[in-house]
Symmetry: C2
Subunit: 203 residues, 2 copies
């Protein structure tokens, strides 16, 4: 069955979005047509608003420029944060999670989604040069500490090792997030690796 | 962490969409901000296009009015279709699936997603009156055949029984889709219910 162009066009754009496939996009189109103009207008408006957001030139997090001309985000611009302590993270949502702990007063650096083959993509290489450059010009060549806040998975460990090697000469200390039993977790169900780490790093 | 208003607003609208939750909406916002203006503009454009679509007053399927004033879709308006043969379906995607078989030359009627408690919702009741009304005014009170093309699940069977009762006086014959082993399926892995149906309705 040949779908009308507006639906095909909608599916084309929406199925390009992460974790939305053509089937979900098709269902979304029917949902929106049935919802009517005011619902669609609300979404269009929210997209217009989104266009006001910028990406920080220093850490690559998103931010809303107050007067339209700032190039860096509130965290990177803040003099209350410790700029010598840098958490390297994969994605924006990791920043939100870490920030919500209220335990971190350093700054962030979003390296972007890491590949699974232990090599850095073009984007990662560009961002890494940017980070090194910031450390060289603003921190006299060495950050006090770089926390590689990468997921503690097999690939994450692999990638963290690659990043550690790359950043070794640009930090006095390179660390990763602590490992152990998550709060609320049960010893009985912890895997051996996690439990082993919890014994070694007991507090 | 307090997210900027444009992101909060975006999450508000996008997490209202079916099968998109607040987490996915958050990730989408970051994805779009990083993609930039042209990507967002493409999506906005596709939403504008979608607003041109209408919902058919007769069968509730979506369609693109050619001159802006039609109230019914191509299928309902076609004189090549058998208007006495009506397939009652739950949703638009079911229509596309049935239409793609090229085996159905009747018309459709979208009843909307059925509840799981065997009662018809307000929306379903309104649509059902509409269908009865169409049958009374255009088919002299009785359709030749109504196919209840509802999913052959427990709830689907239940709802089909409710609909069959409601429509009994408005059709000479009420049928459901045939059941058996799907093409490409293996007897070994067919459940007993399916296999039982396949034996009873052998061809």
């Amino acid at each position: 069955m040949n779908l009308p162009d507006p639906i095909k066009n909608f599916i084309h754009y929406f199925s390009k979005l992460p974790s939305i496939g053509p089937r979900q996009a098709t269902r979304l189109s029917f949902y929106l047509i049935n919802s009517g103009k005011s619902e669609i207008d609300g979404i269009k408006k929210s997209l217009e608003e989104l266009e006001k957001m910028s990406v920080c030139e220093k850490c690559f997090f998103v931010f809303l420029p107050k007067n339209g001309s700032e190039k860096i985000c509130e965290i990177c611009a803040s003099d209350k944060r410790d700029h010598g302590l840098i958490a390297v993270i994969e994605k924006e949502t990791d920043l939100i999670s870490l920030e919500n702990t209220n335990k971190f007063n350093g700054v962030y650096f979003i390296i972007g989604n890491l590949q699974k083959n232990g090599t850095l993509g073009m984007e990662q290489k560009t961002r890494l040069s940017k980070l090194k450059n910031t450390i060289e010009t603003e921190l006299d060549g060495k950050a006090n500490e770089i926390i590689l806040a990468i997921n503690p998975t097999t690939y994450g460990d692999f990638n963290a090792a690659v990043l550690a090697k790359e950043l070794k000469s640009h930090a006095k200390k390179i660390t990763r997030l602590g490992r152990g039993i998550p709060t609320g977790g049960e010893i009985e169900f912890a895997d051996e690796e996690t439990l082993g780490n919890a014994i070694e790093r007991r507090i």
